[in-house]
């Protein structure tokens, strides 16, 4: 899911926010993103997002797919699939097409699911791409 190769056959570089790093503001990326540290503000990616077990996100989150093992305080919009592990904690509303929750995962918020996919249904994907291009 998070290991892609580009046209030149080179493994595409992920954005990695390590455990010793704190990001504040509007952070966006075109590629896959892994967060192990803390982020506050907004967090957007056109691709896949992985939130590590010790990660603390205080931000609204947009991504195509997400794998969450850490904590998110904010609203989450995922275009396709979102997986919450047993250590995941989400305090906010979720909009997603497919949700997988492990026993023990915490979700305190409203969950909206659409067969069509959240991003494409509301035109968010286009807006997200425009934001990232800026």
């Amino acid at each position: 899911m998070f290991k892609e190769q580009n046209q030149k056959g080179v493994e595409e570089i992920e954005t990695i926010i390590g455990p010793s790093v704190n990001v504040e503001g509007d952070f966006s990326s075109k590629g896959n993103m892994t967060v192990q540290g803390s982020v506050s503000g907004t967090l957007k990616t056109e691709r896949d997002l992985k939130i590590g077990v010790d990660a603390k996100i205080t931000a609204d989150v947009w991504a195509a797919n997400a794998f969450v093992a850490g904590e998110i305080r904010g609203n989450v919009r995922i275009g396709e699939r979102m997986e919450l592990t047993e250590t995941a904690k989400i305090f906010g509303d979720i909009e997603v097409k497919t949700l997988i929750m492990a026993p023990g995962a915490i979700l305190n918020g409203r969950c909206t699911m659409s067969h069509e996919g959240v991003s494409s249904r509301e035109g968010d994907e286009d807006n997200l791409k425009k934001d990232i291009k800026k």
């Binding site: 455990p19 790093v21 704190n22 990001v23 503001g25 990326s29 192990q36």
Partner: protein, 256 residues
């Protein structure tokens, strides 16, 4: 018209045979041109300026990574294509460009496969491969949108080329910022002795990698940034990528 800029270390007699072979090969290929030699009293900027005045369209840098960095740094805002002929040691940039040795470099010049690649800029200084700073608590103000703070002391390495085994694409319009653990823990030191791969894995788990176009780097402490392994610049510093600024002749086996 070609201009060849030779590094000053090539005046050493041990390189005279290599240079003669290169010059003969270039003559055979019909690529002979003006030759200038860097010295204490004449730097790259003077030669580039003279060459441009005389209508040079291609500057070929003969030397190593430092020569390349020095000449490209002096050739700002000129519409020139660069070529490289690696001689001596420390030629990692040439290898990344797909140029293995001096003979293959001559063939690459003849084939003239030109690529536009990104160039880095720190304050008013250009860099082609990477810049690095020693461990410190740093703040990066990025693209006017977000801040990156290190919670611990970290080394900063910013790559334009995939040098030192790191992955970086010089055609993506981004610089790759790596923040790495600054000091080895006891566990990592022990692992370093016993199980090498554990050290690397452990470091990788702590590392941050951020593709960024423009940033302002500052630190509470005095911080000296090493540019292309040759020049020092003190923080705070503005660092940015200049997309597709550099036209350079490459080989088929380039690493990007």
């Amino acid at each position: 018209m070609y201009q060849y800029i030779y590094d000053s270390f090539l005046t050493d007699s041990k390189y005279s045979k290599t240079l003669a072979i290169i010059e003969n090969r270039l003559a055979d290929l019909g690529l002979s041109g003006r030759i200038d030699r860097l010295s204490l009293f004449k730097d790259a900027r003077d030669f580039v300026r003279e060459g441009v005045k005389k209508g040079v369209k291609t500057i070929v840098i003969v030397g190593n990574d430092f020569t390349l960095s020095q000449v490209i740094g002096a050739a700002d805002e000129v519409d020139i294509t660069f070529g490289v002929i690696p001689v001596g040691s420390k030629n990692e940039i040439a290898r990344i460009l797909g140029i293995e040795d001096e003979m293959s470099a001559c063939d690459c010049l003849s084939n003239r496969l030109v690529k536009k690649i990104d160039l880095g800029k720190i304050n008013s200084t250009y860099f082609i491969s990477k810049i690095e700073a020693p461990p410190a608590e740093i703040t990066l103000k990025c693209e006017g949108k977000f801040l990156v703070n290190s919670k611990k002391i970290q080394r900063v390495e910013i790559y334009n080329l995939p040098i030192s085994g790191e992955k970086s694409d010089p055609q993506d319009g981004y610089l790759d910022v790596h923040l790495k653990p600054g000091r080895e823990s006891f566990l990592r030191s022990a692992a370093n002795v016993n199980v090498g791969f554990l050290t690397r894995n452990s470091e990788q788990n702590q590392e941050s990698v951020l593709p960024i176009k423009k940033m302002f780097l500052e630190s509470k402490n005095d911080l000296t940034i090493l540019v292309d392994g040759a020049k020092n610049i003190n923080a705070p510093a503005e660092i940015q990528v200049l997309p597709e600024r550099l036209k350079i002749i490459v080989g088929k086996n380039r690493l990007f």
